[in-house]
């Protein structure tokens, strides 16, 4: 048993629902108790879909357990087929039904429906949502793509590809697809099928027609792409085109697959110019903490260091399946990756590192808010705010522009930060003063006050601040004061000083100057 206060990912059958809800004509019959129908609201309330997800739950009750839950399941499959006439059906069990072992796959097969029925085995007590989505998509592709010779259908000089991985409830997947489709077309490749988002069962069956696959989100699309590669010899792209550098690397990869030359695009990008413009110099070396799913965390680390000139001080993911990739990315930055699905560990790390910007999930947004640190959201788990009405991709050229705005917006504007630093005693620069373009925060706690006690590293403070040094410390802008206090205390302790004077403060400042 694991004490869980909050979780980054739902159970694996929610991942399967995300795939089912992405497709236009596939229905999922889920052997599950009534409470599990809560998952519908993820789609109807968070993504604001206009239709219920295509999921039928058997909603068995305790009194059915002694009787025949298997019969109930068969009835549900039968009536679902009659009512919805789907082109294919997914069948499976949620955590509770997994325990009663009714074998949904076998039961559904026995009904002899005239459509493909794909059984899902998603171990609820070991796996999680993204794994469930990946496995479901993979099983669906396996189930619907008939074996055939590996010759492509396309004509020479007209390369085609599929975009794999985007799903319902994915972080900006909707808009990324539009962006990447345009990018591929500009590189001379035609998009055959996007899947699972917006595909039909017949589209899935057409996947092998394409010359290559674009794996937009490895979390959901890689497993299927690997199988398509093994089975039909379709190569697939390795770079996720999020960020300008990654977009160019992606285009170069596409060029080798299409045999068509492409122009690098980053140089002409607005985000790139803004990052080079003088008022972005204040972004230099901003200390950034990054946490999210693997795709977005790795992309964010690359953008932060190479495209914005930040210093990444922490990098991590909740996606254990991709821990290796994130460890490598962290290693390249001289960091040790934080791999955890316990948000309290993430909170403790942020508290310890005192970054100047947090790039994380909605949970890190809350943590950062409590700590008074600016934050931008870069990854699922999904929140209603992650489905903006406007076009807002993360991938490709426009994605880079969106990211530039989203990350820079919560920070102080350059001159404003200097003025705050210079005129600490102006009464309008009270602690907790926020950038003037953002609404006033309700009593932002200074960083040093810290969050929930248990999450804090409990270093007992034995050094003492003189009044005058303490007063001087108050002149340090609040958003770096916590860091200054910690650094000075560490500095003093390392030197065995018991009292911190103004001299100690400035000695420490010089010592830690970067």
């Amino acid at each position: 048993m694991k004490l869980t206060l909050w979780t980054y990912e739902g159970p694996p059958h929610v991942g399967a629902m995300r795939v089912a809800a992405s497709l236009t004509d596939v229905h999922y019959v889920l052997h599950a108790p009534q409470g599990d129908t809560y998952a519908d609201l993820l789609f109807t309330m968070i993504e604001r879909t206009t239709q219920r997800p295509p999921v039928t739950y058997t909603t068995f009750q305790a009194r059915d357990l002694g009787g025949d839950t298997a019969e109930l399941f068969k009835d549900s499959v039968r009536s679902t087929y009659e009512r919805f006439k789907p082109a294919a059906m997914l069948v499976g069990a949620s955590c509770t039904a997994e325990l009663i072992q009714d074998d949904p796959g076998g039961l559904a097969r026995a009904l002899g429906l005239p459509i493909p029925v794909i059984p899902l085995e998603l171990p609820s007590y070991q796996r999680k949502e993204n794994w469930g989505a990946s496995e479901t998509f993979y099983q669906l592709v396996r189930g619907l793509c008939a074996p055939r010779p590996t010759t492509r259908m396309t004509k020479v000089g007209q390369p085609t590809c599929n975009i794999l991985g985007p799903t319902s409830l994915g972080f900006r997947h909707r808009d990324d697809v539009g962006e990447i489709r345009r990018l591929l077309e500009s590189a001379g490749a035609t998009v055959n099928v996007v899947a699972p988002l917006g595909a039909s069962a017949a589209d899935i069956a057409r996947l092998p027609d394409a010359d290559f696959n674009v794996v937009l989100y490895p979390e959901t699309g890689l497993q299927a792409a690997q199988w398509l590669h093994r089975t039909f010899g379709q190569p697939f792209t390795r770079t996720v085109p999020i960020g300008l550098g990654a977009t160019d690397a992606f285009l170069a990869e596409v060029a080798t697959l299409t045999g068509k030359a492409v122009e690098p695009t980053a140089a002409g990008s607005r985000a790139s110019w803004y990052a080079r413009s003088v008022d972005s110099t204040y972004l230099t070396g901003k200390r950034v903490f990054i946490f999210g799913d693997a795709t977005h965390a790795i992309a964010a680390a690359r953008i932060a260091t190479r495209e914005l000139g930040f210093s990444v001080v922490g990098l991590g993911t909740y996606a254990r399946e991709f821990a290796r990739e994130v460890r490598t990315a962290a290693g390249d930055l001289g960091l040790e990756a934080l791999i955890t699905d316990d948000y309290l560990e993430v909170e403790a790390k942020i508290t310890e590192l005192q970054p100047e910007l947090v790039l994380g999930t909605q949970m890190e947004r809350h943590v950062a808010k409590r700590l008074g640190i600016p934050c931008a959201v870069i990854s699922a788990p999904i929140h209603v705010q992650d489905f903006p009405a406007r076009y807002s991709p993360q991938a490709g050229l426009e994605g880079a522009n969106v990211i530039f705005d989203t990350w820079v917006h919560p920070l102080m504007m350059g001159l404003e930060e200097h003025l705050l630093g210079m005129f600490r005693e102006d009464f309008e620069f009270a602690d907790g003063a926020r950038p003037s373009h953002l609404p006033a925060a309700p009593a932002t706690k200074p960083i040093a006050a810290g969050p929930a006690p248990a999450a804090r590293p409990s270093a007992p403070i034995t050094v003492h601040w003189t009044d005058i040094a303490e007063k001087e410390l108050q002149k340090v802008p609040f958003f770096v004061r916590g860091k200054a206090r910690r650094n000075t205390e560490t500095f003093a302790k390392e030197r065995g000083l018991e009292t911190i004077t103004i001299e100690t403060l400035y000695d420490a400042k010089a010592h830690f100057a970067r």
Partner: protein, 425 residues
């Protein structure tokens, strides 16, 4: 409208159907979302799966702002394979939790579908942990599982679990009044003032705001249910000798008056004193409801089953706002507890107990109601089809009981309609 009309308590005149099919209702775990805020030093530890944890955080508004007083002990494959001893595991998790939250005085172990299917004996675990942690922390258990409970029944089971721990009231003291069912603090305070005004000053509420402030009960205790879904709690109270005061539920001017009046009768309060205590509130409630009535009068409402509040709500909408009732779906129909409300519904009302969601959607489309009351999974898709909806969960998370909230309650139903007309412009 006379707020004091009492009609014979019968439901024989309605069309009641039982339906069995796919349900689209949350499980009892969901009650934790409001209970953990109500009992301030209690903590709810669900023993369940990742699904249970995900349900709770999704229903609680997706993200947590303050650290909530609930968590899930997520069962993993080691537990299932018997590699880990369930008692040891639970002890470890509880120890970890209490170290983190030392202010906890009452800990609920909440059963889920997985814990019940694998037959984890949480009542034994609760007794064992209670012994170990006493006197600092009391440990109780109840089921919030989806195979045993829907939505609000989680509160019922939670309160029923508290009842045996209530102290015994002295036999010779004056009768006391116990109001049962979680209410917003502001509503409780209003009720307390109204009862005091009529001379009933020994009033307690269950659940209490603090875990140690448990009301004493006994054969001289009379209780009023403030929520209609508390069948198990009522039974547990009756087993302790307390007696239920039958009444319609305190929704709307009429419902509140009859609810209060039932208590007044039981405590032998004279009508003059009753009127003096309640007339100002009643007048305000009637006024507030009358102001909204033109927006709702003649409009037809269709209820999908959700919180078991459907019948008292339908009674309020039909009698005080002049709305027409289409189907009234409810997950369970406790006829005895709802007898007074059922008697006030227009004869021949269409009641459906249970659910078959697809068939019900078909009937809803055919009935073309002006307002559909439904859960979060159905609301937006129905809006997209052109219906006007009121999400039922808001009726649980908003103070709606009593005189001062009668207008707010009416407004909850009027707002989606008003919004439609504004957006059409």
């Amino acid at each position: 409208m006379s707020a004091l009309t009492v009609e014979p308590a019968t439901c024989g005149s309605h069309n009641i159907r039982y339906e069995r099919g796919q349900r689209e209702v949350f499980c009892g775990l969901t009650s934790i979302v409001w209970l953990h805020r109500k009992i301030q030093d209690a903590f709810f530890l669900v023993v369940g799966s990742r699904t249970c944890a995900h349900l709770l955080q999704s229903a609680a508004g997706v993200m947590i702002f303050a650290e909530p007083r609930f968590a899930t002990a997520v069962i993993d494959d080691r537990d299932l394979a018997g590699l880990a001893d369930a008692d040891d595991e639970l002890d470890r998790v509880v120890t970890q939790l209490l170290a983190r939250r030392p202010e906890i005085r009452l800990l609920f172990l909440v059963g889920s579908c997985p814990s019940e299917v694998i037959k984890l004996d949480l009542s034994r675990a609760a007794q064992r942990l209670s012994r170990r942690l006493s006197p600092g922390v009391r440990v109780l258990n109840y089921s919030g599982s989806g195979i045993e409970t829907t939505f609000t029944e989680g509160e019922d089971n939670c309160l029923a679990a508290i009842v045996p721990t209530l102290p015994d009231a002295d036999r010779d003291v004056r009768p006391n009044l116990l109001v049962v069912g979680a209410l917003a603090d502001v509503v409780e305070d209003q009720m307390r003032r109204l009862f005091a005004g009529m001379g009933i000053d020994k009033v307690d509420f269950l659940p209490p705001r603090r875990a140690h402030a448990l009301p004493a009960i006994g054969p001289r205790t009379l209780f009023l249910l403030a929520q209609p879904f508390l069948a198990a709690t009522a039974k547990a109270l009756e087993q302790r000798g307390a007696r239920r005061i039958p009444a319609p539920f305190p929704l709307g001017a009429e419902g509140t008056t009859q609810w209060l009046q039932a208590a007044a009768h039981a405590f032998d309060i004279g009508s003059a004193r009753f009127a003096a205590a309640t007339s100002a509130g009643l007048r305000r409630a009637e006024q507030a409801v009358a102001a909204i009535r033109p927006k709702l009068e003649g409009k037809r409402v269709f209820f999908f089953p959700d919180s078991q509040l459907e019948i008292p709500l339908a009674r309020f909408l039909s009698r005080e706002l002049g709305m027409g009732l289409r189907e009234i779906g409810t997950p369970y129909l406790h006829r005895a507890l709802l007898a007074e409300d059922l008697a006030l519904l227009p004869p021949g009302s269409q009641l459906v107990e249970g659910q078959d969601v697809e068939a019900q959607l078909d009937r809803c489309r055919a009935a073309k109601p002006d307002v559909v009351v439904c859960g979060l999974g159905l609301a937006n898709p129905l809006e997209a089809e052109g219906f006007t909806t009121k999400w039922s969960i808001e009726l649980i998370f908003t103070p709606i009981q009593g005189y001062e909230q009668a207008g707010d309650l009416a407004e909850l139903f009027a707002r989606p309609l008003v919004r439609k007309t504004r957006l059409a412009a």
